[in-house]
């Protein structure tokens, strides 16, 4: 692995890649949805055990939207990130010049930077909105939202990159990405009372909701660290599998 090559691939995808406009438009729609939901959140008040007259914090609403909708946004944005290059054959020109590990890591880094940026935009705009609505700024919780959401999205980026690496064309990649999301939902719903739930990133994401519902003084740090560690492990596992898959492929 060469770090400068990884940086070149990531920079190329972010600044000169043909997909960056598409990525930014999808992300823009997602940010707009988050802000819309924060604005109209009063109708959701009955779902949560908050006292009367207290608004739902913006980071909790954004986090719920990240949990539910962001995996689909990541899927739409990243399912053809590698399979498209395989389908058109353009991967051969890149792979002949740089290491395959750097190629995959560069692609991952580009997507991860985009989604981390999206999450930071949501966090900042949510805070600004909350401040001008007369609410207090919750800097600690907002930073926690940014870290946890980025890690959660990192898991899905690595999953869809892995599927894209395995697929020979965009159609297969899209189909398999949908299949994998269905499998994850099935495991999460069916396995909620047994160990199957630990196989899905949804579980680690949903476990963190409790942190946002209480005050920052009541955060269970062991649980938080365990969830963060597991999400990093999940991402690393799928990235390693992507590297293993691309090294075995005859391109």
């Amino acid at each position: 692995m060469n770090l400068s090559e990884t940086g070149v691939i990531a920079e190329d995808e972010l600044l000169r890649g043909p997909k960056i406009k598409y990525l930014l438009s999808i992300s823009g729609i997602f940010v707009f949805l988050c802000l819309l939901l924060i604005h109209y959140s009063t109708s959701l008040l009955s779902l949560f055990p908050f006292e009367n007259g207290v608004n739902i914090p913006h980071y909790l609403i954004s986090y719920l939207l990240v949990l539910v909708l962001a995996p689909f946004v990541v899927m739409v944005a990243s399912y053809d990130f590698i399979s498209n290059e395989m389908e058109t054959g353009s991967i051969r020109y890149v792979i002949s010049k740089i290491d395959r590990t750097s190629f995959i890591l560069g692609k991952f880094l580009a997507l991860f930077i985009v989604f981390t940026f999206v999450v930071s935009v949501i966090a900042v705009m949510g805070s600004i909105y909350a401040y001008f609505s007369g609410n207090a700024l919750h800097i600690g919780e907002t930073v926690l939202f940014w870290i946890l959401s980025s890690l959660y999205l990192g898991c899905f980026v690595s999953i869809f990159l892995f599927i894209s690496t395995l697929s020979e064309n965009n159609k297969t990649s899209f189909l398999m990405s949908i299949v994998f999301i269905i499998i994850l939902l099935f495991l999460f719903l069916q396995g909620y009372d047994n160990y199957l739930k630990y196989l899905t990133p949804y579980f680690y994401g949903i476990e963190n909701i409790g942190i946002f519902r209480g005050s920052s003084h009541n955060v269970e740090f062991i649980k938080l660290l365990k969830n963060i560690f597991t999400m990093i492990l999940y991402t690393t596992l799928f990235l390693s599998m992507s590297l293993s898959a691309i090294k075995r492929r005859d391109l």
Binding site: L166, S167, M176, V179, F180, I182, I183, F186, L187, Q190, G191, N194, L196, M241, S244, A245, R248, R249, D250
Partner: protein, 121 residues
């Protein structure tokens, strides 16, 4: 390997796994999940072309046979058939179909991964 041999291997291996899990009194969801993944991996390793299709057919067939045997020979199945209520039978059949489809999807995905991770493809 030939298509018929791959399908037969998948079905026999799946039925054997179902039998073992049943004897060991394994949880149905765990057993079905692990069985689907294993049959998918075997199908993906053996098949020459179309791993998803082959895995889907193998897994749905062995699950259909396993659930039919369960419905016919398991003493507890008499509760479903004996109560004479269409709704109970409908729920059982519906549950069976949903589980078969989900296990087939899981197995197809594992066959897809196993096929594409092969070094001798």
């Amino acid at each position: 390997m030939k298509t018929t041999k791959v399908l037969a291997t998948g079905i026999i291996f799946g039925l054997a796994l179902s039998g073992i899990f049943s004897i060991l009194d394994f949880d149905t969801i765990y057993g079905g999940f692990i069985g689907a993944i294993l049959v998918g991996i075997i199908t993906g390793r053996l098949v020459d072309d179309g791993p998803i299709r082959h895995a889907f057919i193998s897994i749905s067939t062995y699950n259909l046979i396993a659930f039919a045997m369960l419905a016919l020979f398991d003493p507890n199945a008499k509760i479903v058939w004996g109560c004479g209520n269409r709704a109970v039978v409908g729920v059982f059949v519906g549950f069976t179909i949903i589980m078969i489809v989900f296990y087939s999807i899981i197995g197809s995905f594992s066959a897809f991964v196993a096929y594409n991770m092969r070094s001798d493809k």
